[in-house]
């Protein structure tokens, strides 16, 4: 620095106006999106992997609808939801990675020294992550359309599929965010994201629920992913199944309530003054 002098205005009114929670959330969502988009290398692989598996499944099992009972339409309409759900699970880590980066670099503590609403510190990265998830799911759905997907419920059906994928991702992100707040460590947070992948296979992943039996059927019925897959498949292949959609939304909400209770606890521990 040199001796250059710039007068600070002392007569300007103080900008100390308390803001509402939605405004704080909005400000931090914009900021989270800005930083998330500055690391595209973290965003592209999950989408690429989802599309890769979609192409592989469609190429190898594309004619399975003809001999697997219960698929009820095109195999693409049956398997695309798996790609969306896989993307939701990997994408659920976006919010947590964003949060843990703030904790590791000290910016989280810096925010604690401001009047920012504590709930905004939790909700903003999750909403930013959900927006990214929506974009990722849209790209995967677009890939499905290019491969020949013809949803029986049309454009609104596609929006429903994307919405359910985002809702599921938001629910799971409650868990990864809890890990981020609890550990404050990027590696531990990354590890927590991997815990979900077995859940993908404790579900009617490659065949309809009606073909599962024994312990796998029991596990699948306890797994919220099952209901999301069932609803997405119904919407794409069979038509508007309000019961399946309602059940999947309830499953996502139940998951979210449990995960966000955990996340709220983790936030209170991290921000608690001791």
């Amino acid at each position: 620095m040199t001796t250059k002098t710039i007068e600070l205005t002392v007569s300007r009114p103080m900008m100390n106006k308390p803001l509402s929670l939605p405004v704080h959330i909005y400000l931090l969502v914009v900021r989270s999106l800005t930083t998330i988009l500055r690391t595209p290398e973290a965003l592209l692989p999950p989408v690429a992997i989802s599309i890769f598996f979609l192409v592989i499944y469609q190429s190898t099992l594309g004619k399975a609808a003809a001999f697997i009972p219960g698929i009820g339409g095109s195999y693409l309409g049956f398997i695309l939801p798996l790609s969306i759900v896989s993307g939701s699970l990997s994408g659920s880590g976006i919010a947590a990675q964003n949060l843990v980066r703030d904790i590791e670099c000290g910016y989280f503590d810096k925010l604690l020294l401001t009047p920012v609403r504590r709930a905004a510190l939790l909700l903003a990265p999750i909403l930013a992550g959900a927006i990214i998830l929506g974009v990722q799911a849209t790209i995967v759905v677009s890939a499905g359309l290019l491969l020949g997907l013809k949803p029986v419920t049309g454009f609104l059906g596609l929006l429903t599929v994307i919405g359910l994928g985002v809702l599921l991702g938001i629910g799971f992100s409650g868990f990864t965010v809890s890990a981020a707040l609890g550990s404050g460590n990027a590696a531990a947070t990354q590890g927590a994201s991997f815990l979900f992948f077995p859940l993908t296979f404790l579900a009617p992943t490659f065949v309809p629920l009606s073909l599962l039996s024994g312990w796998l059927e029991v596990a699948a019925k306890l797994n919220p992913i099952t209901y999301v897959l069932e609803a997405m498949r119904a919407v794409l292949n069979n038509g508007w199944d309000t019961q399946a959609i309602g059940t999947s939304i309830l499953a996502c909400l139940a998951l979210a309530v449990a995960m966000y209770a955990l996340a709220a606890f983790a936030l209170s521990v991290r921000t608690r003054r001791s």
Binding site: M1, T2, T3, K4, T5, I6, E7, L8, T9, V10, R12, M14, M15, N16, K17, P18, L19, H24, L27, R31, T34, T35, R38, T39, R101, D102, C105, G106, Y107, F108, D109, K110, L111, L112, L113, T114, P115, V116, R273, S274
Partner: protein, 332 residues
Amino acid sequence: MSDREIVVENLVKSYPGKVTAVDGVNFRVDEGKIFGFLGPNGAGKSTTIKIMTTLALPTSGRVLVGGFDVVIQAAEVRRVAGVALQEVGIDPLMKSMELLVLQGRIFGASKAEATARAKELLGLVQLSDAVDRRVGTYSGGMRRRLDLAMALVHQPKVLFLDEPTTGLDPVSRRDVWREVRRLNRDLGITIFLTTQYLEEADELADTVAIIVAGKIVTEGTPAKLKAAMGEESINLVFDTPELADKGQSILENMSDRIQLDRDTVRLYLRKAAGAIPAVISQLQKEGLTPISLTLTQPTLDDVFLQATGQRLIASEATKTKSSRSRQRVEAN
């Protein structure tokens, strides 16, 4: 009480296991003053500043910042206080303008207000040319200046600076000093400063307090503290620490306070200049000649040493006549 004052009364902070980090600390920082808080590692400085900035709760006692109680009015304290902690917490993926605008908006400014304020502050800390770069590419000095700017976004009445120049080169350090002085002089901001540089406290602080083992052991203006020392020091450098040790033994009856610091013996005396011939004579009688002799006025370093029994700067062996024990003192 003024909205720019800090009052700390009987502050105690204990942790489980009966560790008392802050033990009955009292001080007051008057409006528009700079208060320097010094102490060795683990003395309680960081704990005190964490309590004052609402990051930690006291076990007992009362802390008022700008008239607000840090326990029950934490949100109000955050509105009147600006804080630049020792660890610069800045998102490396963001740009300085983005960080400052966001900070301003969190404090309630409109986008236009926050942008204008950000530009003003970037000029103040001389970062106007780096607004388009991500903060991750900034040097340590630039990050500290940005951190200082972030602490000023909401026009705080009280500013907490936790070791603001640690890790900076001497030129950047002096630049920060100049800005701190100007913020205090031109805007009337009350400043609470912790530092490991005694020269920094001497240069900036109106009042200095030294904390040791959770208790304030001395407090006053730098000038008064130095004057209270009352003694100048004769500094004798010998060829080896062994010869210095021998020199200390020879001279220890000439003063109540004598220190051995590796190859240097410091003899504290009133009217020390007049005692130099006697000192040399005493050494020569024993066949010992120092390789250099200097005379120094008391410094804040001497005040710190007398108050704590340790030097604050770097690791060095210190031995006083009273303790006669060598101890390692790490930089705070």
